[in-house]
């Protein structure tokens, strides 16, 4: 948890650095005002997923008449980073057995990208790579050389996408009128809990004009939260409680059906 907070702060700082470095020259021309519909998502026992609304406005300096286009907006939602072990199966004596395993660090547990048009048309590949825009441009931490790593990295992206945890421009960013934009990101029921970050990027003619970020917290709450905390904070007590519950349930069942 402390790690996650640390990383959040770090990535916020990085973002600020990016914005101050590359935007100084163009700050006069335009800026970005953004927000999200909710900064706290509670995963309760009846949680079935939710839609997160991300919206904002592009402010255009009225002196700059020649700028007719609003620009392009990219919206990214990143989940807390985690360590992942990827295992590859091979056929051994007729059955499929896990053989090779690679460990990756700094794997976002959730990643969603939305944009008003395909990102490849918005900015140059090196800019997209630097900002890690899109699941395929994420850089996971690993010690192995690229050619060994690659199929394993693809497996992470493929499986996270299948679990609806990674999405690549599945929802568009809509412009409303001259300055407003909005998009939605769907948060599935199996969403990992932790500290998230929503990032907004404004591009015009391939140039990064502005960036904004907002924190987003996804937390277990209610009974589920209490059970989870209990299980991890006091494992022995939790185990004993589980056994007592089972014994009571069994006794109750026997008592109810005794007349038969």
């Amino acid at each position: 948890m402390r790690y996650a907070c640390h990383r959040l702060v770090l990535s916020l700082l990085t973002l600020c650095a990016i914005s101050t470095l590359s935007i100084d020259s163009v700050r006069a021309q335009s800026s970005l005002v953004t927000d999200i519909s909710s900064h706290l998502i509670s995963v309760t026992s009846d949680f079935t997923g939710t839609e997160l609304l991300l919206f904002g406005a592009v402010k255009i300096d009225s002196d700059n008449e020649e700028q007719l286009s609003l620009g392009d907006v990219l919206v990214v939602v990143r989940g807390p980073e985690e360590d992942v072990v990827v295992r590859r199966k091979e056929r051994v004596a007729g059955i499929w057995v896990n053989t090779d395993a690679l460990e990756f660090t700094r794997v976002p547990s959730f990643y969603a990208l939305a944009s008003n048009r395909p990102v490849e048309e918005i900015a140059a590949p090196d800019v997209l790579n630097r900002l890690r825009i899109g699941p395929s441009r994420l850089r996971f931490g690993a010690e192995n050389p690229e050619e060994i790593r690659l199929p394993f990295e693809e497996a992470i992206i493929r499986q996270k996408s299948r679990a609806k945890l990674y999405s690549d421009q599945e929802t568009p960013v809509y412009f409303l009128g001259d300055t407003l934009f909005r998009t939605t990101v769907s948060i599935p029921a199996n969403v990992p809990v932790g500290d998230y970050i929503a990032e907004f990027y404004l591009f015009r003619d391939g140039e990064l004009l502005g960036a904004q970020s907002s924190p987003l917290f996804i937390k277990k709450s209610g009974l589920g939260r209490q059970i989870f905390d209990f299980a991890y904070d006091y494992p022995a007590l939790y185990g004993m409680a589980a056994i007592i519950v089972a014994i009571l349930a069994g006794w109750l069942a026997a008592a109810i059906f005794r007349k038969d």
Partner: protein, 305 residues
């Protein structure tokens, strides 16, 4: 309607889980087995992580066994002395089993181990039961009434540390029930089963216990073995999902009562034959999954610790 399972960390359909619990209860009421060997694969099939399925099912079986033992106790069908000896073996076995489970989990072979042990044990026991019930059906049709001895004498009866078990009408070495208990303890930790489907045949055929006290005694020691497994899993892997266990318990209890009524209408060898077919079907499904090429050769799991 869905419900979020806090430890499994997924949302599942409430009625699906209740239905599965009810079905397993029905079968366990009909056949007198805990049903762990069926529900663990079913839970894995609907997306519960295998480690959570195994640990949670052992918690659910504790409840089912308590309920069953109370019924058998009233009829005097529990050999407590035998139960305690089996239990000592069972506790030792479950500690070893948890150790193996944790070791396998760290090298990524736990899923394979669960599947393989299921295929081996379900295949062997299902096959043996099926042959036995077919023989019994043929015999009852012929109507040959040759009476068997109370139990046969093998090399087993020559082992040291003999103990007298009054209720089971046995005077045998304590090594046998101890090692059977240990084997079942290992199985229950690795496979998420109470081990009734191994224990019951072993008590009848290896120990030569009278069938009447076998189920009650087996259930008695399964309570403690599964409680121990639950505790050890809670401490070492944090994979016991109380929410899931409660859902399974509540519906399996009702299913078991209905199943008991069905069971009394069928003949013993027919019941055993049907159970054998069911066991073989689960075994074939799991074996098939091991052999066919998976959709994705790669699997992800939590790293570190």
């Amino acid at each position: 309607m869905t419900v979020y399972l806090p430890i499994a960390e997924i949302s599942v359909n409430l009625f699906l889980i209740l239905g599965m619990g009810g079905l397993i209860g029905l079968l366990s009421g009909m056949f007198g087995v805990g049903g762990g060997f069926l529900i663990t694969p079913l839970l894995i099939f609907v997306g519960i992580p295998p480690a959570v399925a195994v640990a949670t099912v052992s918690n659910q079986i504790t409840a089912a066994s308590v309920s069953g033992v109370l019924a058998h106790w009233k009829r005097g069908n529990v050999d407590f002395k035998m139960g305690v000896v089996l239990l000592i073996g069972g506790i030792i076995g479950s500690v070893i089993g948890i150790w193996i489970f944790t070791l396998l989990a760290s090298i990524g072979q736990v899923d394979l181990m669960i599947s393989l042990s299921y295929v081996i044990f379900l295949g062997t026991i299902g096959g043996l039961m099926f042959i036995e019930s077919i023989n019994a059906m043929i015999k009852s049709r012929k109507g040959s009434g040759t009476r068997k001895k109370l139990h046969q004498h093998y090399w087993i009866h020559g082992l040291p540390f003999k103990m007298r078990f009054r209720k089971s009408k046995l005077y045998i070495s304590a090594i046998m029930p101890l090692s059977i208990g240990a084997l079942v303890g290992i199985l229950s930790a690795i496979m998420g089963v109470g081990g009734g489907f191994v224990m019951v045949p072993a008590m009848i055929y290896l120990l030569g216990m009278p069938t009447g006290v076998v189920i009650g005694t087996s259930l008695f020691q399964i309570i403690f073995v599964t409680a121990n497994v639950t505790l050890l899993h809670a401490i070492s892997t944090q994979t016991v999902d109380v929410m899931l266990a409660l859902l399974l318990m509540s519906s399996s209890v009702i299913g078991a009562q209905i199943g008991t009524r069905f069971g009394t209408k069928l003949r013993g060898e027919q019941l055993r034959g049907m159970l054998a077919l069911l066991v073989i079907a689960v075994c074939l499904k799991l074996a098939f999954d091991l052999v066919i090429t998976p959709d994705d050769l790669y699997t992800l799991s939590d790293g570190g610790n």
